[in-house]
């Protein structure tokens, strides 16, 4: 048992926290959003230059980290700062998928992604798929040694900023069959690709993408025909870990802001933090945040486990984070009073992110169902795992 970070991870954390403290103020973030940009491209380059994107890839993929703990360290810090730059969408989700499926064949693209020069996006969710990873109705029809893609994708993280899309499409099978899904690399400028970007409630950006007779070459297919589901699931496990760690970081800051405010805000001549009604709730929240931390650690430690064990942990962690995230958001706003609801104050942005995280990669109920389905067949307690 060892719950300490290793030396490299401590350095990574401290460096990233210092950088974000210096460069990523709440005001700067609001300015970027108010200007209509989806994120600060200069800052994203600087993050890449610091090696933050490399930290989520393994050495053989061109990075220098990539373990569950590395991801946890990075995303907890990104969550603390409220980072909206496309680390999750481009590096972890799409980049991770590319690396897992075809690191050798696309090492140049991967390098550019890790360097922050190229933005990748996974175009996978569809209007009817909700949280079901196997639900793909976009078609890939083979014709003359090429494929023609037709369909609609939604909630594509940073889709409008992406240079290259990873598009999931069905070569065979029914709408929800796990078998039959393939992934294709599609430059976003390809004829027939149209993309509408939009802001999300939490300040991140996504896009809706339609594929209208988009022609791609055989060589643009990643991995084995019809076999992409397993890779999609594994990539979502990593992305879920990243997202949950981000939530943990956001919870820590929301809590810290609330504690500070309760000490400073006076009503009835005393700091409101002296009211036991509020103290007990804050104490209860702290207990839940520690549970959230443990849940993130659990998932970090089981990313490399067998599929059933891994997915069991994905769902357990995401379910718990969803519950605690909403609790922390709601309680922190309530304990602040009116000020907690203002756009100007940072808390409301952390609260929005915490709540909306439950709408990404499956919510509390979705993962409760999955946990029930998976936990019957796996041992989730007691066995050893290496978080790296």
């Amino acid at each position: 048992m060892d719950f300490e970070l290793n030396e490299d991870q401590v350095m990574l954390r401290d460096m990233l926290r210092r950088f974000l403290n210096d460069r990523y103020s709440h005001e700067a973030r609001r300015t970027v959003l108010a200007s209509g940009q989806s994120y600060d491209t200069g800052l994203f380059s600087d993050l890449a230059e610091l090696g933050i994107l490399g930290a989520v890839f393994a050495p053989e993929q061109g990075g220098y980290g990539g373990t569950g703990t590395d991801m946890m360290v990075v995303f907890q810090e990104l969550g603390r700062a409220g980072v909206i730059e496309p680390v999750l969408g481009s590096a972890v989700l799409a980049g991770g998928l590319l690396a897992a499926l075809d690191a050798d064949g696309h090492s140049a693209l991967l390098q550019q992604t890790i360097a922050g020069e190229t933005i990748l996006a996974l175009a996978h969710s569809e209007p009817q798929s909700r949280y079901d990873l196997g639900h793909v109705t976009t078609r890939a029809s083979a014709a003359n040694g090429q494929f023609v893609l037709n369909g609609a994708k939604v909630h594509v993280l940073n889709g409008a900023q992406a240079d290259m899309l990873l598009v999931s499409a069905r070569e065979e099978g029914g709408p929800t069959d796990e078998h039959g899904i393939s992934l294709f690399l599609v430059p976003s400028t390809t004829a027939g690709v149209s993309c509408t970007g939009h802001l999300n409630v939490d300040g991140t950006s996504s896009a809706r993408i339609t594929l209208d007779a988009v022609t791609v070459d055989q060589s643009q297919r990643l991995g084995q025909p019809g076999q992409a589901h397993a890779a999609l699931e594994a990539a979502h496990a990593r992305a879920t870990l990243a997202l949950c760690a981000e939530a943990l970081g956001a919870m820590e800051v929301a809590k810290a802001l609330t504690v500070a405010y309760l000490q400073e805000r006076k009503q009835f001549g005393v700091p409101i933090g002296s009211f036991q009604a509020l103290q007990h709730r804050l104490a209860g929240m702290l207990i839940e945040i520690e549970q959230a931390r443990s849940a993130v650690i659990n998932l970090a430690g089981h990313l490399e486990a067998d599929r059933l064990t891994r997915e069991c942990h994905v769902s357990a962690t995401k379910n718990l984070i969803g519950r605690v995230g909403a609790l922390v958001a709601e309680e922190c706003i309530q304990m602040h009073g009116g000020i907690g609801m203002t756009d100007e104050y940072a808390l409301s942005h952390y609260a929005r992110r915490l709540v909306m995280i439950d709408h990404i990669f499956g919510d509390v109920d979705h993962h409760l169902d999955r946990f029930i389905a998976f936990s019957g067949g796996s041992e989730t307690t007691g066995e050893n795992a290496n978080a790296g």
Binding site: V201, Q334, G337, G340, D343
Partner: protein, 398 residues
């Protein structure tokens, strides 16, 4: 014990239903149903429509143009209006200022201020809270100093709901800084077009500026705009707060929200079946519905006690806490039901742009902003913590 309505009450409900069906435009109904933002004119039109029928001032005495409805009738109205997706009634003039004028104002003030509330000429807002005076309202510092036949007002109010549309504000101001804090407060009516009044919007977590800061810089207010006696404002304010709380359970809103939630859950596919057939989600919906069924009766029990002349007291605190928790839970369930489609933030759609694309189902864009907006329910009108303290003291004697 008899849970049924009287034939008169049933007939009253039918009359309301017919009126709403006939008069409320489809456009406004749709906007309310989908949680879109209403314009000032749409809110004014709704008031005018009710006023034309004599129903705007539902609890006012007839001699002042009111309908003199009793508490049960008002409850029936709330249910029917919510059911029809009518806008809410802007309460500040009608339900907050007017009761104070009836009880503590002069006849002259009633003649001067009540008719413009009905006609829509005056739009009132509530100037109580200040940056330093929230739950501890009595610590307010906005100063009013008597100079001849005027008061000169300096200070700041905040969280002023819909102040951007208002032309009058009723304020609590400090007229005696040396008295005990509750004893130096007065109730003053201020024309917002007076020089020195500045309104600044505050954008909230849902992206909308529904509240404002209001600044007073040497604002000269005629002394005749003082309600009641100088330094007695706290008594009037407390009276008003109990009025603010009588309708606070919001059962009508919860009923309407439950109907919407059920429709959305039936339409939404999740994991190959409608969401309302997912056992977890179905259980959550059933749980709120069960609570709401009891809440409806709790509300009616307290209303009929009030109708028998028992002043709303600690009961209104209970209604407020439970009623707001239910509304918040319903908004959380709607947000969840919508799923990933709750993510996009689409202000053009929410503002009612006819060509704005909801990106998903049309009920989706307002789900998350609506949920965040509902956080206010447990903060304003006396926070739920403050209400629990009242309950502990008054009902439990602790």
């Amino acid at each position: 014990m008899d849970l049924s309505y009287t034939p008169e009450q049933d007939a009253f409900r039918a009359e309301l239903r017919g009126f709403l069906a006939e008069n409320l435009s489809e456009r406004v109904r749709e906007k309310v149903r989908l949680g879109k933002r209403l314009t000032k004119v749409e809110m004014q039109d709704w008031h005018a429509m009710l006023n034309a029928r004599g129903w705007l001032a539902m609890s006012w005495p007839r001699q002042y143009g009111g309908a003199e409805w009793d508490a049960v009738q008002r409850q029936i109205f709330e249910e029917e209006a919510c059911r029809a997706h009518a806008p809410r009634i802007v309460p500040f003039g009608l339900k907050m200022l007017a009761p104070v004028l009836f009880k503590f104002g002069t006849e002259e003030q009633r003649q001067r201020f009540l008719p413009p509330i009905l006609s829509g000429e005056h739009w009132w807002c509530q100037g109580y809270s200040e940056p330093g005076a929230g739950s501890d309202l009595a610590s307010l510092r906005t100063r009013a100093v008597r100079e001849g036949d005027h008061y000169v007002v300096n200070g700041q109010k905040t969280w002023t709901t819909l102040g951007q549309y208002a032309n009058w504000i009723f304020c609590l101001v400090r007229t005696d800084p040396d008295a005990k804090k509750q004893e130096g407060i007065s109730f003053l009516l201020i024309d917002m077009n007076t020089p020195g009044v500045t309104v600044r919007p505050i954008v909230l977590i849902d992206g909308e500026a529904e509240v404002n800061e209001v600044f007073f810089d040497n604002v000269r207010v005629p002394a005749e705009n003082l309600v009641g006696e100088e330094n007695k404002g706290w008594t009037y304010a407390k009276y008003l707060l109990t009025h603010e709380r009588t309708n606070i359970a919001g059962v009508g809103f919860s009923d309407a929200a439950l109907v919407t939630l059920k429709q959305v859950a039936a339409q939404t596919m999740a994991g190959g079946r409608p969401l309302d057939q997912n056992p977890h989600f179905a259980a959550r919906m059933a749980q709120v519905e069960i609570d709401l069924m009891a809440m409806r009766t709790t509300n009616l029990r307290m209303i009929s006690a009030a109708a028998k002349g028992q002043a709303p007291g600690v009961e209104s605190s209970m209604l407020k806490v439970k009623g707001t928790l239910l509304r918040q839970e319903l908004s959380a369930l709607l947000r969840r039901a919508v799923g990933p489609d709750a993510m996009p933030y689409l202000p053009d759609f929410l503002d009612g742009g006819d060509n704005a694309d909801p990106l998903g189902p049309d009920h989706a864009p307002a789900a998350a902003p609506g949920y965040f907006n509902m956080r206010k329910l447990s903060i304003f009108g006396g926070s739920n913590e403050v209400q629990r303290t009242i309950i502990a003291k008054s009902a439990l004697g602790l």
